[in-house]
Symmetry: C2
Subunit: 206 residues, 2 copies
């Protein structure tokens, strides 16, 4: 077994990790929880926090960059953490292929008071893509605590109203991606540069 | 469907989450990666970091508390992060039962220079429990980068020597545990008190 070290410093418009992750996603599409990721943030006192969250897809930003989409309840603890410190690292573990992506970057919260037409549309579109069951959670009197009283109202309404103020779209713009394939220890490390390109820091394949 | 709110403030020697997690572990024992967790830490600049790591079991501390065991390479980025800030949050997602445990606490690194007899023994025991393949990684010239040269030496040695200086036992002493069962939104929130007991902050069952 020999190792090959790929060229460092090579730049591309789209990181090589994107090609990889598309394959990983396809290989896990049928797996329940295959789109569950862990998102780490820091609170006002500098303590780390981490929770499982659903990855909702990629979206091209008006700036030309790329973001990963998630959603959250405005009353969730993570919201105040993000408002204080936008830095995050997301971990995506693909159990089918023993691959890990660590995606560090900055988070942006798209709330009801957003004035960017693009963001307003993106938030609305994400809301409309939710199931009625998922929508109901945003009407609970406390986030994360089931409220039987709201169940029927959302169903009756058909769920096609405007998103409530509790519904936030969360955008993660990645700046550093570290990839590891456990089966053979292949790795890839890429960084997003201010000029909008991805630079390969290292890539080891066996 | 009605909700029941369990008593707050009830204290116990062992948190109720321990009873729960034992059941969760048993239900996932046969699942590949069922003992993979995500561990979030903070670096010197206050940025969050998160990675997948293997849970190696529970251990009773000489102090009477309980710790979760992991291992790491002394050259890993997470080590300098932990040396700077011992705070962490571990996420354990059980895909079979749609349960999440968020375990916040403090990390302790047990290195080769540890002088506590208990810690020396615990580190040695953990090393001896590793497979030869797992042991080899700690002899690689760079952590995380496969080195074919070390493969045979560890195998020849039988892997029963003293743990190398690169091998660290990582102990997580939990202080706050938050449990969520996604199937019915049942929750539990417990905190470890200075007197060594666990206090229930909230528990919602449906």
């Amino acid at each position: 077994m020999t190792s090959t070290q790929a060229e460092h410093g090579r730049r591309s418009q789209q990181g090589q990790w994107m090609e990889k992750v598309k394959v990983s996603i396809a290989s896990s599409r049928a797996i329940r929880g295959g789109n569950y990721v862990q998102l780490a943030t820091v609170d006002e006192t500098g303590q780390p926090h981490c929770r499982t969250i659903v990855f909702r897809g990629f979206v091209a930003l008006p700036s030309g960059g790329l973001a990963l989409k998630m959603i959250t309840d405005a009353r969730s603890d993570k919201v105040s953490q993000i408002q204080h410190n936008r830095s995050c690292e997301m971990v995506w573990w693909f159990s089918q292929t023993s691959e890990q992506y660590r995606i560090a970057g900055h988070l942006e919260l798209v709330a009801a008071d957003s004035t960017s037409p693009w963001a307003v549309a993106a938030r609305s579109e994400q809301w409309n893509a939710l199931s009625d069951t998922a929508k109901q959670q945003f009407f609970w009197s406390k986030p994360g605590m089931y409220d039987p009283l709201v169940a029927s109202s959302v169903a009756n309404e058909g769920g096609h109203g405007l998103p409530p103020a509790t519904f936030l779209l969360v955008l993660l713009q990645p700046s550093i991606v570290k990839y590891l394939r456990l089966s053979d220890n292949a790795t890839l490390h890429e960084a997003f540069l201010p000029d909008g390109t991805w630079e390969r820091r290292s890539s080891i394949q066996y």
